[in-house]
Symmetry: C2
Subunit: 497 residues, 2 copies
């Protein structure tokens, strides 16, 4: 790399727990953490700033103020003793913020407001309603928390030559400008991992939010996304909302005498690590159980793995499956829809309601089509990584029909791990569609007739075509391996300096 | 004009009723009909093709097949006897379609599907769901009805030299291409009176609808909108969805060897006719009643006049008013919100639900703030044009906070008829905002805090500033008088020939 790197994300690469009086380090989860952890060895003397997520994180942070803790990421993460040199290692700085401010920041503004606006999920006739409480949450929560994290970033940057600052996601849109003010010489990138909407979508936020959030992001040198479409939408928003002049050919704009580029770096998966994980005994046990329950004798399996987020479009997936069984009764008893779903954000009313709708939709299909020895939908509410990897291996069809999705790594993982030449049904609104449209069958998120037709086409597809498509998809995923994802960004940032 | 003109709209300029054995002609309502009727005298030997809306229309149509009926529009519309020469007159051709096809066309596709998509009203996590029934309604209803009307238009065009075909609105997106095929030499414009969304909004429709509807429209020479933003969005959609090359400087695109322009012609009102209508005795009676109930002694009046369409954002208007009374208790008893609302499309579930929410929101404000002799919200569910004109005259503040609106003529009518220098609160998402942003106070449709602050600013605004803004707004409206609206289009179309 050459340059010192300071990273910021809301969830960190490691978190601490205490059990039986012992402190234990746990590797962080989520696509970003997985991606960055996988290539930590390339990052040199990096500092990773993140929020406290457990009480034990807070304790660790308090014991290591202000320098942060050094963490080894080789196998299982662990704290390093003073002076211990185990590479690759990172310095992690946990930032603790007042719980009420954090609640406002996280559960009122970042989720659901920004999440819903950027995924286009609001029923605009009735929501959002921006109230005095929303404005308090924005000012006292989102803005204050961003200022706090920006101060820590600026502190970590101070005294370093030509630092490279890599900021992440919708929690921290105000940080780039705040860091820029205190460290004008820093090279700053900000990666947005969720969809960026078109101007009318962004304008669902009132001017006092949308203008400030955009201007905050324009403190960066590069604003990065998983797709070219999102990068384009971002430039379009800056042009529309802030009147920033855009150079469309170079995908950049002028802002306060600087150039800000919008770039696409589609994230991928750690193919080697993933393949190794899929060989664990627990995965093989799950595979055997799935085969015993649902496969053999020419039966086929449709799979989805998702959080129960309204953006994932689980209900319409079940409606489409019902449509498939109605249109093709010969498939009754011959194909099962296995859905492994992780309940998500159940403290948010929309999420609790959506989980209920998922249950109702699955039950309706089962009530209508079940017969002795066969239930059409096998709905598992669980967070079980081994089960997910097993389901990828055994799936004939994988359904990703998201309403909107920043990338969707399920699609990429599944085509890598498939052992039955899975056919990928991929929403045109998933970020992954920009790379995988050709080998996948494109589905329209709102058209359950078309989704059912795509399921049928996938189930009936000749083996040779399944293999060709699956191999092509896996090639694309391997070619975008996550270490290249970071390297491309680092190369581009080096070019800017 | 010079050229023979053929008009098409779903609602016609006249409709017939039968009462006590007598046939009676009734002038059509709605912004388009008002606008076109007002300038019928400029249209020469025009033929206006429209749908049958009453049984008597069907009877009239059957008696005058296929040539249509000649209708005088001078004062009250009436049928002309054979050979009677009363100018201005129009030939009206009513088109009757099979009721079931019309139901599919109108109440499944045009409303709510296209209306909701173009106003951005769908809660995308759950609706729309494109089912087999939707596809039937599209093919057997919308497509079939468009083919039927296109055949009548082509028939009316046949044998005329250089005909000018002016098609209207979201009911007939497939007609331009169908007419083009049968009359390649015709000059065709299609006016879209509702918002045109950005590509991600349009892509809520599945490819088999969105591509065909766009391609249908591209049979026109000019696709016209009320705002430049909608025209721009349309070009952007054609580029994104159909890969049509766009010449952005000239606001046009290439399609099948032809040029298709996207233009903005903001519709306005018939200032002379409106002023005359506002002087009717019924209006003066309503004004006296409104003053007696709500004004005098320094009291002030906030007014809105709308259909109870979810796009109009009535509920958030009441929430904002409640916020105003909470923040400024000194206004309690001093200001009333008079809402004259016309129940709309109550056969559509979303509309029935929305009316209930309106009632609930108004009642909540009244329950909280009412005191002896004063109720904060005066909610009238009525269709009463005289009352609306009276309310415009007496309003201190007029609220137009629409979620999305193609134009909104209420805003334009009110600033013309105001006798108390009304302050216009105008949503940034109403088409009228493109013309009236300067004299109005812009409101954000989702931010009830900001709407309440705008209400307060309007109520407290010095008289001189109210006058200046109201006068400026009225000037803009008069300058865009509806006869110029048509003339600009005719001039531009002449330039194309």
């Amino acid at each position: 790399v050459g340059a010192p790197v300071v990273l910021l994300s809301h969830r960190g690469p490691v978190s601490f727990e205490r059990a039986d009086g012992q402190r234990r380090a746990v590797r962080g989860t989520g696509g970003l953490v997985t991606a960055l952890t996988g290539i930590a060895q390339n990052l040199g003397d990096a500092v990773w700033i993140c929020g406290v997520s457990t009480e034990e994180d807070a304790a660790v942070a308090a014991e290591h103020q202000p320098e942060g803790v050094r963490v080894s990421l080789t196998a299982e993460p662990r704290l390093l003793a003073g002076g211990e040199a185990d590479r690759p290692a990172l310095t992690v700085r946990f930032v603790a913020v007042d719980p009420e401010r954090h609640r406002q920041f996280y559960t009122e503004i970042a989720n659901p407001l920004l999440w819903f606006v950027q995924h286009g999920l609001y029923p605009l006739a009735s929501a959002p309603v921006i109230t005095p409480q929303t404005w308090s949450a924005f000012e006292d929560g989102y803005v204050a928390v961003n200022e706090r994290f920006a101060a820590v970033v600026a502190d970590a940057v101070a005294g370093r030559d030509d630092p490279l600052v890599m900021l992440h996601d919708y929690h921290f849109y105000l940080v780039p400008e705040l860091v820029r003010r205190r460290a004008p010489g820093a090279t700053i990138s900000h990666f947005v991992h969720i969809p960026w909407p078109e101007p009318d979508g962004w304008r669902v936020l009132p001017p006092g939010m949308r203008d400030r959030l955009l201007a905050g992001l324009l403190g960066a040198d590069v604003v990065a996304f998983h797709t070219d479409r999102f990068a384009r939408n971002f430039l379009y928003c800056a042009e529309d909302v802030l009147d920033a002049p855009v150079d469309w050919a170079r995908r950049r704009l002028s802002w306060q005498g600087r150039q800000v580029a919008a770039r696409a770096y589609p994230i991928s998966v750690d193919a080697v690590g993933l393949t190794a994980a899929a060989d664990a005994p627990a995965v093989h046990e799950h595979r055997a159980a799935i085969r015993a329950a649902h496969l053999g004798d020419g039966r086929q399996l449709i799979v989805r793995v998702d959080r129960t987020d309204p953006s994932k479009n689980v209900v319409r997936g079940f409606l489409a499956f019902g449509e498939l069984l109605e249109e093709h009764p010969e498939l009754q008893g011959r194909v099962t829809f296995l859905a492994s779903l992780m309940p998500s954000r159940q403290d948010v009313a929309e999420y609790a309601d959506y989980l209920a709708e998922i249950g109702a939709a699955a039950t309706a299909v089962n009530a209508r089509y079940s017969r002795r020895g066969w239930q059409p939908v096998d709905l598992r509410l669980q967070e079980d990584r081994s089960f997910a990897l097993a389901a990828y291996a055994e799936a004939d069809v994988l359904v990703v029909n998201a309403v909107n999705d920043g990338m969707n790594l399920v699609a990429k993982e599944a085509v890598l791990l498939s052992e039955r030449d899975v056919v990928l049904l991929l929403s045109e609104n998933a970020g992954a569609h920009e790379e995988l449209a050709e080998p996948a069958l494109t589905v329209h998120p709102y058209d359950v007739v078309q989704q059912a037709a795509a399921m049928y086409a996938a189930l009936r597809m000749p083996a040779a075509e399944r293999r060709r498509r699956r191999t092509a998809a896996a090639e694309i995923v391997r070619g975008g391996d996550v270490s290249r994802w970071l390297q491309r960004q680092l190369d581009d940032l080096a070019g800017l300096r």
